[in-house]
Symmetry: C2
C-alpha cells in the first residue's frame, strides 16, 4: 500500500485538489489541517527507556518527584536502582500535612497538626496545570485521582489595605469594571479616529462590535450601570423568581479608583499560562502523588538516609550516608552511576568530587524564601457567609493569598484555609518567627479580610521553607545572568554523576520542572551507560 | 445594654471618631465597613415557613425543582401536601440519562441509553453558579455532593467553519492575543494623547502600567512573540527540564484575523454572571438533586399522574388526573390550595378555571427550542490526544458546543461528551430528525473539530426539548413586551391557585428560577392561607 495513494490510485495531492474543486478552498484547507491539532503539543507521551546494560546500576539521591521519576524509568529500563531519602516518607516537597502529622523544622520547633480528619494543607505545590504533561502522566500511571483546582473565583476578594477604605472588593466587580472601561476608552478612541493609521475602517467596525460584546458596553458603547454590565459584575439584588424577582443593578467602580487602588493587578491571575484552567489537585492532597510513587518503588527507597559524601571514580560512585535509625554508624552505597536530586543549598554542603563548572553552578542558585500557613476554622464561613467556594483572594498584606478549599463544598464541621502564601521579604520576616507566631500573624492579617477569623479560628500550622531541613529554601531562583553562565553546566553529566530537580529546569518551583528534568537526565545517563556497556 | 453604647458609655459614633483620630481615616472607614461583606448578598438563608393553619392542605402539580421546593417548605410548615407528577421519577428537567435508561419522546421514538456504568449526560441543566443560593441550599440540606464544573478551559477550542481554514484554535491563544492587542491599541491611543480629555495625566500612567501587565505587553507596550506573551498564550515548545528545557515562542494571531474570524465571541464565555466560577455539578449527574428531593418527599409524590383538569371553587381546588398504571380511570385529588408548576405549553392545554389575566399570561410565553446530544466514545481522546480536561469548545457549526466531562479525568475505558447543545433554528431542524439522525449529525459535525470522532464513536442519545412529553419545550422565553404585560399576572395568586417554575422568574431556563419562584409563591400562599384560617 503506497502511503500517498488513494484506493483508486489517486495521489493524496490530487485527491485534495479534487476535494478543493468540488467543495471550495476552505474545505481543502480543512482536509489538510484537520488532523494537525492532536500533534500541536510537543509532549510525545511517556518516556519508555529500554535496554539497560546487563547489571548496570544507578544510585539516586532523593525520593522527591525528580528522584522517583528517575527511579521509575530506570527500573523499568532494567537498571538496578537504589534511592536514598533523607525523610521517612517519599515525596520531598510534594507533601501534605494532615491532622496527626508532626513536623520539626530547623531550629528544633516541632508542630503537631491538629486538623480534623480529611482536612489538610499542602506546604509545597498545590496545583497542577493541564499542560504539565509529565507529572500528569505519572498521576495517570500511578492511579492518583485528580479533581479540579479552582484558581479563579469571581466571588473571591481583591483587597488593598489602603484601597476602598480597606474594604475587600469582589473579583467579578473589579474585573468587569476594568474590562468594561478599557473597552469604552478604546471605543472612544476608535470613534475619534485615533486608530485610523493602525486599523482599517472595516476592521474598526468589527473591533467596535467586539468591544461592545467583550466589554459589556451598551448600544452607545458606554459601560454603565444596568442589565448589560450586571450580567458581568453581578447585581445589588440579583434576578429571582415570582413577584420579588426584578434585579437591581449596582454602580460600576470608576476606572480611576481601580487604577489608583492597584487592584487591577489581580484581574489576570487566571490568564497566566501556569494558572489557566484546567488545573488539578490530587484528591486528598498533593502528597498523594509522592505516596503513590513511594508505594510503586517500595523496596528501592531507603528512608532516613542523610547523605554525607558523594565520591566518584572511574568505575562508579560511592555515597556515604548516616542512617537515622542507627545513629553514629556511617553507611555506604555504591553504583555505576549517580543521579543526584538533592536541593542545591544542601548539596553545596556535601563533599563531592565534581568538576569546577558543576561546582560553581551548584553554588550559583539561591533558593526562594516562602511561607505557607494552614488555618483550621470551626466552620466554613467563607462558604456559608461569603459564598466563596474555592479560589483565591489576594491582598497587599504580608499574607498575600487566602486560598479556599476546592473540595468538600458545603461540608459541615470544620474547614481549613490556606491562610498565607508569602514570598520575598515578608517570607523572611515570617521565617524568623516561631511557628505559633506565624499562625497568629496570619490570623491577625486575615481578619482584616474575613472578620469571622476572630471568632472562628481553631488551630494552624506554618511551614517556612528556609527552615525545612530537607531543602533549606523553596526553589532555585535563576537570574538571567546565572542561567546563561551556569545552567548547562548544572545539567551536564559530570563523569558518572548527573543532577536533576526543579533547579535543573526552566519551570522552577513546579513539579513539572522536577519531572522533565529527571526525564532529560535519565535519557542522557542511559545513552552514556549504553555507550559504555555494563559495569565491570 | 444600649445598642449604640460602648462598655464605657461611649456612643458607637464617638468610638469611631476616636478610632479615626488615633489611626487615620482609612482605619475608621474600615472599622465601619469591615463587617459589611457578609451582608452583601441579598440571600437571607433558607426560607423557614412556620405555622400552617391546622388541617390546611396544598396540592402541588409537578415534581420538578419548583414543585419539590414548594412541597418541602409547605410540608415543613405543617401543611398536608400532595404532589402529582407526570413522570415515573422526580426532578422534571433536572434529569440525568445513564446507561440502561429508556426515554420515549413525543412521536413515539424510544431511546435506550447504552453508556458505560458511571457515564451520563444531563439533557437539561448541567451547571450551578455559585450565586444560585436557592438551589445550592437544597443541595446542602439534601446532602447532594457537589464538584466543580469546568466552564472555561484555556486549552479548549474555538472553531469557525470559515475561519483559519476551518482549523480550530486554542481558547488561550485567541484570548491572550485579543486582550494583548486591545491593550496595545489603547496604549498607542494613550501615547498619542487621544485620552487626554478623558483620563488625567497621572491616571494615564497608571493605565499604561495596568495595560502592560494585563495585556502581557513588552517594555515598549507592544504585544509580540516572546516570553511575555508566551506566559499567556502558551508556547510552541513549552519550558521543560534539563538540557532540552528552553522554550520556543509561537507567533501571535493578528488582531484582524481574530476580528474577521468572529472567534473573539468565545473569549468572554466565562465572564458572564451565570458562567463565572465557581460553578458546580452534582457528583453523578444533575439528576442527583431530583432523586434526593424525591427520597426526601417519598410518600407525598404520586408518579405517572397526568393532570387533565384543574378546577377551583370557594373552598379549594379539585384536580382530575389519569393514572398511567390504571388506564382509563380518572382519579381525583383535592386540597385547599394548589401550586401549579406544569410547564406552560402543557398547562395551556389543560382545562382550568382561572381569570382572564392569568389565562392570557399562560398563553403568552413560547418555549425555547433546544437539543442536547450525548456521545459515548471508545476512549477519552480529548484528554489523551488533545489535553482538554473539562470545559467547552465553541463552534459556528449547528452543534454549537462540545462539552468535555468535568470529572473522571484520566479514566481508562470509554467516555461521554456533550456532543451538541443547540438553540434556535438549528435546534428546530434537529428536533425534526429522528434521534438516530441527530446523533449521526452531531458525530459528522463534531468530526470537523475532533477527527478522532470517526474512529472512536460508540453510541449516543439525543434529547430534543420540543419533543419532551413533560415540557414540550426547553424553557419560557419572555420578551420585554410580554414580561411588561403578563409577568405579574402569571405570578399573582388567582383565587386558590398559584403558579411557579422557571417560567415565573427572571432567571429563565435555570433551576434557580424554579426554586426562587417557588419560594416566592409559597410565601404568598402561606400568608393568604394564614389570613383565611384553616379549611372547613
Amino acid at each position: 500500500m503506497a502511503s500517498d495513494s488513494g484506493q483508486d490510485g489517486l495521489t493524496r495531492r490530487e485527491l485534495l485538489r479534487r476535494v478543493g474543486l468540488m467543495a471550495g478552498g476552505s474545505v481543502m484547507y480543512q482536509a489538510m489541517n484537520s488532523l494537525a491539532l492532536a500533534a500541536e503539543s510537543p509532549w510525545k507521551g511517556p518516556t519508555e527507556l529500554k535496554g539497560a546494560p546487563p547489571g548496570a546500576s544507578v544510585l539516586i539521591l532523593g525520593a522527591g518527584m525528580a528522584g522517583m521519576t528517575a527511579a521509575y524509568e530506570l527500573r523499568n529500563a532494567g537498571y538496578k536502582v537504589q534511592v536514598l531519602e533523607f525523610n521517612n516518607r517519599a515525596g520531598g516537597r510534594n507533601w501534605t500535612l494532615h491532622g496527626g502529622d508532626r513536623y520539626t523544622e530547623l531550629g528544633g520547633e516541632t508542630q503537631h497538626c491538629e486538623f480534623d480528619p480529611g482536612l489538610y494543607i499542602n506546604p509545597g505545590p498545590w496545583r497542577i496545570p493541564y499542560h504539565h504533561h509529565g507529572i500528569l502522566s505519572y498521576c495517570k500511571r500511578l492511579g492518583v485521582a485528580l479533581e479540579p483546582f479552582v484558581q479563579v473565583n469571581y466571588n473571591a476578594l481583591l483587597h488593598g489595605s489602603k484601597a476602598f477604605g480597606g474594604k475587600p472588593q469582589r473579583f467579578r466587580e473589579i474585573k468587569a469594571d476594568y474590562q468594561g472601561q478599557v473597552a469604552e476608552l478604546l471605543a472612544k478612541a476608535t470613534h475619534q479616529h485615533a486608530l485610523d493609521s493602525l486599523v482599517t475602517r472595516e476592521d474598526q467596525e468589527r473591533l467596535l462590535e467586539s468591544l461592545r460584546g467583550w466589554g459589556a458596553l451598551d448600544s452607545d458603547f458606554r459601560y454603565v450601570a444596568g442589565d448589560v454590565s450586571g450580567e458581568r459584575r453581578g447585581y445589588l439584588k440579583p434576578p429571582g423568581g415570582g413577584l420579588t424577582a426584578r434585579p437591581e443593578s449596582g454602580t460600576p467602580i470608576q476606572l480611576d479608583d481601580i487604577l489608583q487602588s492597584g487592584l487591577w493587578r489581580g484581574v489576570s491571575s487566571g490568564d497566566h499560562y501556569d494558572m489557566q484552567t484546567a488545573l488539578f489537585q490530587p484528591v486528598g492532597g498533593m502528597g498523594r502523588i509522592g505516596e503513590a510513587f513511594g508505594r510503586e518503588l517500595a523496596g528501592l527507597i531507603r528512608y532516613q538516609a542523610k547523605v554525607t559524601s558523594i565520591q566518584q571514580d572511574a568505575a562508579g560512585v560511592t555515597v556515604h550516608y548516616d542512617d537515622a535509625s542507627k545513629p553514629g554508624v556511617s553507611q555506604t552505597a555504591r553504583a555505576d552511576w549517580c543521579l543526584c536530586t538533592i536541593p542545591l543549598p544542601i548539596l553545596a554542603e556535601i563533599p563531592m568530587n565534581v568538576g569546577e563548572q558543576l561546582g560553581a553552578a551548584i553554588g550559583a542558585v539561591p533558593y526562594a524564601s516562602s511561607v505557607k500557613v494552614g488555618l483550621q476554622f470551626k466552620r466554613r464561613f467563607w462558604e456559608e457567609d461569603d459564598h466563596i467556594f474555592g479560589g483565591i483572594s489576594y491582598t497587599d498584606l504580608p499574607i498575600t493569598n487566602i486560598g479556599y478549599p476546592s473540595t468538600g463544598f458545603h461540608a459541615n464541621g470544620k474547614g481549613v484555609l490556606l491562610g498565607a502564601y508569602i514570598w520575598g521579604l515578608n517570607a523572611m520576616e515570617f521565617t524568623s518567627m516561631t511557628p505559633g507566631e506565624r499562625v497568629q500573624k496570619a490570623v491577625e492579617y486575615g481578619s482584616q479580610i474575613h472578620p469571622q477569623y476572630k471568632t472562628e479560628f481553631d488551630n494552624g500550622v506554618a511551614v517556612a521553607w528556609h527552615r525545612v531541613p530537607f531543602t533549606q529554601g523553596c526553589y532555585g531562583m535563576w537570574t538571567t545572568e546565572a542561567r546563561a553562565r551556569h545552567y548547562d553546566d548544572l545539567c551536564a553529566i559530570d563523569g558518572r554523576i548527573a543532577l536533576a530537580g526543579e533547579h535543573a529546569s526552566f519551570i522552577g518551583g513546579w513539579q513539572e520542572g522536577a519531572v522533565t528534568s529527571a526525564l532529560d537526565a535519565v535519557g542522557r545517563l542511559h545513552q552514556r551507560a549504553v555507550a559504555q556497556g555494563a559495569s565491570a
